[in-house]
Subunit: 116 residues, 2 copies
C-alpha cells in the first residue's frame, strides 16, 4: 500500500480518531463512501450522485480512497471505457462510522433551515 501523505499522525492519545478521520475527510470522501456502501458504481454514476463535484476532484478522491485500501477500482478494457468502483473489505468496515455520522447528521442538522 503506497504510503499516503496524510499519515501525518501527531499521535496524542486519541490518535486513532484522527487517523480514521484522515481517511474519510477531504470534502467528498465521506459521501463517496456513503454511496458506495449501497453498491458498486461507475465513475459517472458517482458523478451524478454528487452534482457539485468536478471530474478532477472525483478522480483524486477516488484515487486516495483506493490508495488507502478502502475502494477497489476495476477497469474494463472496452471501447467505451468502463470503470467500476466498489468498497474493499476494509472500506466496508467503515460502515458503522458512516452510519454513525449519518445518524448524527439526520438527528442534529437542521435539514429544513439549511436550505438558506
Amino acid at each position: 500500500m503506497p504510503r499516503i501523505k496524510h499519515s501525518n499522525f501527531d499521535c496524542s492519545p486519541g490518535c486513532p480518531v484522527e487517523g480514521a478521520l484522515s481517511l474519510i475527510d477531504g470534502k467528498w470522501k465521506g459521501v463517496i463512501l456513503y454511496h458506495l456502501l449501497e453498491g458498486t458504481l461507475r465513475f459517472n454514476e458517482i458523478r451524478r450522485k454528487l452534482p457539485n463535484v468536478t471530474q478532477r476532484m472525483l478522480t483524486l478522491q477516488l484515487r486516495e480512497l483506493e490508495a488507502d485500501g478502502l475502494v477497489l477500482r476495476k477497469v474494463f478494457a472496452q471501447v467505451p471505457p468502463r470503470v467500476e468502483y466498489s468498497l474493499t473489505e476494509r472500506g466496508r468496515s467503515l460502515a458503522p462510522v458512516i452510519a454513525a455520522l449519518k445518524a448524527w447528521g439526520d438527528a442534529n442538522l437542521p435539514r429544513s433551515a439549511e436550505a438558506a
Copy 2:
C-alpha cells in the same frame, strides 16, 4: 465571529454525512472532542494533551467548535485568567461518532507498522 463558513453544504443525498463530518474535521477537532468527552478541561490542559497543536490553532478550533454549538466556553473573571471548556449536550451527542471513529482506528490502523 459567528459566521461559520463550512456551511458549504452541497447536499447530495447522503449529505448529513458531509454535514456531520464538516463539524468534526479540521485537523484537531476530532481529538479535542475526544478529550473533552472525558471531562471539562482548561485551555492549557488541552494544549498539554495535544503536544503538537499551536495556541493559535487550538484557539481557532475551539472557537469553531463553540460556534457550532458543540463546546461550551466558560470564562472566569480572575486575575490569572481561567477558561474552561466542556461539551454541550449537542457536543456530547457526538460520542457515538467519536467512539465509532476510535473503534475503527484502533482496529484498522497499523499502530505498530505506522512507525515506518
